[in-house]
């Protein structure tokens, strides 16, 4: 069935999978289609885990896909005269290819636990830097005023414009006013859903001054795509100056600020 060229052609098509697959990943970074710059402290361990898994799965990918190609090439019925090997399996091989992946996967599972715990479980024992309240389709922010405490009359309210000091532990208290949202900071390797009825702590330490995106990553309605914020990482002095400025501006428009305050404070 089929001539000798057709089998070669199809085998090579399957060889194209690992070749082009690897090429795609190799070329992508030079077009900047790759992990965005990491500016967080914990991001390093997330990225290195990503690279570790990429290396591991990359090897498995190349080996298995090349085997697919090689078996198709070598055992092409149109080009081989040898009869097929009559074999129903191999106990030894089954054991080997069960134990090795099992051990690898188990290792991977244990290896990553610490990073996860750092990002999601070992919360710094500090007061919240800022409260983020998600709503359709914006990020409402509340900074504790001079008293350092949320929920007091000197709180400062803002929308979509998050500022944090560099190289300091930041604790965000994440809430939602209406539906699910997700607080996604690509450059800080942070993502956490905001859930109505829950107060979820999110923490990070930004390591580089600059402005970065805040993206909503959980479908929240028709305007989900435009639920955009910005996070500004700045020096302690700049941050303090900015906060004071915001406070002054809020006092100038007190009634308006009171209204927002009442609305945000009502969120359970």
């Amino acid at each position: 069935m089929g001539n000798r060229w057709s089998g070669m052609f199809w085998s090579l098509l399957f060889l194209a999978v690992p070749v082009l697959g690897v090429a795609t990943f190799a070329v992508a970074p030079s077009y900047d289609i790759w992990l965005p710059k990491d500016v967080s402290e914990h991001g390093r361990s997330i990225d290195s885990l990503f690279y570790f898994i990429l290396g591991l799965t990359g090897i498995v990918f190349i080996v298995t896909e090349v085997l697919v190609f090689w078996f198709l090439w070598k055992y092409d019925g149109a080009r081989t005269k040898a009869p097929a090997t009559f074999i129903h399996g191999s106990h030894a091989l089954e054991v080997v290819w069960t134990i090795i992946p099992a051990a690898t996967l188990l290792f991977l599972a244990i290896y990553q636990m610490n990073t996860w715990a750092d990002v999601k479980m070992r919360r710094p024992r500090i007061a919240p830097t800022v409260e983020v309240v998600a709503r359709q389709f914006e990020w409402r922010l509340r900074y504790p005023g001079r008293d350092g405490e949320l929920g007091t009359p000197d709180d400062i309210f803002l929308v979509n414009d998050l500022h944090v000091p560099v190289d300091e532990d930041i604790l965000v208290q994440l809430k939602s006013m209406d539906v699910l949202h997700s607080f996604f900071l690509p450059n800080l390797r942070i993502k956490q859903d905001a859930v109505p009825g829950m107060k979820i702590p999110v923490w990070f330490k930004a390591t580089e001054i600059g402005q970065y995106d805040i993206v909503c990553a959980e479908l929240c309605g028709w305007g989900h795509y435009k639920m955009k914020g910005r996070i500004t990482v700045e020096s302690r002095e700049d941050f303090d100056r900015w906060l004071a400025e915001m406070e002054a501006r809020q006092e100038a428009t007190q009634p308006e600020a009171d209204a927002t305050a009442a609305e945000v404070a009502a969120v359970p």
Partner: protein, 602 residues
């Protein structure tokens, strides 16, 4: 014994009695309200292929918006003229919601269990029909109200459901939260429940049939992998589905009666307060994924089974590791019930609980790996025939490797923080569901088409179809991995206003062109399919020289399937038995066929 007698395998084709003077009622009972599993299987096949087309067009509209946001939509643009030919963001959310809904609930699940399960189970175990033919007929006819519910929802006020196929509350429970959360969502829940009823009816039928109606000699460990996969899928359905049905009703009462299972106290969306509270949005996610994770295996195990059978036939070689293959399907099914939380790593679920789900998810990659190695083992040392069915089957293996490996990134909780809800996830499930299952389905169609219609499909055009689909699918979906690596979020009508993503439009345009090519390629398939039904070369009983029981029946089999009582003497994969004159021994060949052949040769 020197002569080979095969008393139960007549060589003459079955006598088909021509029906004269067919009345309307016989027409209805033969082709419409038929209780014949083959007719029901084909009804499922035609319906799901039609929905496949609709789902594909929805996908193109989604891709159009992602590649060229807010630009005039060609052709389809006329349908929503009120927006001046460009789509609104709420229309876009509806599109991807309904694309996924159609593909999952109206195409993949019913085409595997409904079409192939129905057609193949009785034939491959040597039964004359399903255990409960009436139930079987109902399982198909329960799809119709579902088709109508989903179909009609496009035309109600606010449009069809638009909260994602996952339907997370409160977006879905508060009618003010989005346009599609009105009637569209109610109809969505209704349709889902009806699809569930259909699946459940099929599922109990398949289990009973496989347990009780196997031909003499067909022990469980002589079943072809297709049947094992269908069997375990049926069990998965039976145990997981009630949870989804219950959750669906809870969401329905939340919406219609204000029960508040999924809404916390005092929840206000868009100025509309929910009357009661005391519920929790995460409850829905737990219930939904408790079904929908097992469901992803419901969406691939049957394809794995079919691919195993096709690979052996065209490698002319026994399946490598039959029992490990069975055990790994069972392992996937078992573990499949304790990994649902991997969809909720960053949902607000307790992060400590996340760790247990991470470990179980890592472990579920193991049976998938074992299956892959055994498929490779099956190819090794074979005499491979490059038929269209074989090409699709091999591509299933090649593509499933990619989908399985990307799963490991996402199972790693810290990495999932970054890639959750990005295109990396979209890449993952399209590699398992489209590049995996859909390619497996095509393999199955090219392979069993002669049994279904008595004629072969055109191989040349089949290969053109394969080649183009394979090329375009990788162009569309492989690139999604690197898009996901940037963090490009899914479900955004326009992401280019973000600094992080502004440069990704050309890549998305490339992917959309590939997607258009992929859908267009299916015209070749459709023409080949219809043309071959009537004009393809006549196939005969066993065009592929395969071993399993369906190939002993006439093509297409008449009512009652077999024109003799099949008796099974061996497993399904006795290819290239040394010293045997034929290169394969069918399951019904007499036990001494092999030694008789040897004796005759001496």
């Amino acid at each position: 014994m020197s002569t080979v007698q095969a008393p139960h395998a007549p060589s003459s084709p079955a006598v088909v009695t021509p029906r004269t003077g067919q009345s309307l009622s016989t027409f209805l009972s033969t082709y419409v309200f038929s209780k014949d599993h083959k007719v029901i299987g084909l009804q499922f096949l035609f319906s799901t292929l039609l929905w496949f087309l609709i789902g594909g067009l929805l996908a193109l509209a989604v891709r159009w918006q992602i590649a060229w946001p807010w630009s005039q939509v060609p052709v389809l643009g006329k349908l929503f003229a009120q927006e001046g030919g460009q789509m609104s963001p709420e229309f876009y959310t509806m599109l991807f919601t309904m694309h996924a809904t159609v593909m999952i609930f109206l195409v993949i699940i019913p085409i595997l269990a409904g079409a192939f399960g129905n057609f193949l189970i009785p034939l491959m175990i040597g039964a004359d029909d399903m255990a409960f033919p009436t139930l079987n007929m109902l399982s198909y006819w329960f799809m119709w109200p579902a088709f109508i519910a989903f179909g009609a929802s496009f035309f109600v006020e606010g449009g069809a459901a638009s909260s994602g196929w996952t339907s997370y509350p409160p977006l879905t429970t508060n009618v003010a939260s989005s346009p599609g959360s009105g009637w569209g969502q109610t109809l969505w829940l209704l349709g889902l429940t009806l699809v569930g009823v259909s699946s459940m009816l099929g599922s109990v039928n398949y289990m009973t049939t496989i347990i009780l109606m196997r031909a003499p000699g067909m022990t469980m460990f002589r079943l072809p992998m297709t049947i094992w996969a269908m069997f375990i899928t049926a069990i998965l359905q039976a145990f997981a589905l009630p949870v989804l049905t219950a959750a669906g009703f809870m969401q329905l009462t939340d919406r219609l009666l204000g029960t508040g299972f999924f809404t916390p106290e005092g929840n206000v969306v868009n100025n509309l307060a929910t009357s009661t509270g005391g519920g929790h949005p995460l409850l829905w996610q737990h219930l939904f994924w408790f079904y929908s994770h097992p469901a992803v295996y419901i969406m691939i195990l049957p394809a794995m089974g079919m691919v195993s059978d096709i690979l052996t036939t065209f490698a002319r070689k026994p399946l490598f590791g039959y029992r490990p293959m069975v055990y790994s399907i069972a392992g996937i099914a078992g573990l499949g019930f304790i990994v649902w939380g991997h969809h909720m790593f960053i949902s607000g679920m307790n992060p400590a609980l996340g760790i247990t789900f991470m470990v179980s998810t890592m472990m579920i990659a193991l049976p998938s790996a074992v299956k892959t190695f055994n498929w490779l083992g099956t190819l090794w040392g074979g005499r491979i025939q490059f038929t269209t069915a074989m090409l699709f089957a091999v591509s299933f293996v090649s593509m499933f490797i990619i989908g399985g490996l990307s799963g490991i990134f996402m199972a790693a909780t810290p990495v999932d923080i970054f890639i959750h809800d990005t295109y990396f996830i979209v890449a993952h499930f399209h590699y398992v569901l489209f590049a995996g299952t859909a390619m497996g389905v095509w393999a199955g169609i090219y392979y069993w088409f002669p049994k279904m219609f008595g004629r072969l499909m055109n191989e040349t055009w089949g290969k053109v179809h394969f080649f183009l689909t394979f090329l375009f699918l990788n162009g569309t979906f492989f690139t999604m991995h690197i898009l996901g690596a940037v963090g490009f979020p899914r479900r955004l009508a326009d992401a280019y206003h973000y600094e992080t993503f502004h440069h990704l439009q050309p890549l998305n345009a490339f992917m959309t062109w590939c997607a258009i090519g992929m859908v267009a390629t299916q015209i070749i398939f459709a023409v080949n399919f219809v043309w071959s039904m009537f004009y393809g070369p006549v196939a005969g009983r066993n065009p592929w020289n395969a071993n399993t029981l369906e190939w002993t029946a006439p093509s297409p089999p008449g009512h009652g399937n077999f024109d003799f009582q099949p008796v099974v003497h061996r497993g399904p994969y006795e290819f290239s038995v040394p010293g045997c004159e034929k290169d394969h021994l069918m399951q019904t060949d007499p036990p001494d066929a092999h030694s008789a052949a040897l004796a005759a040769a001496h």
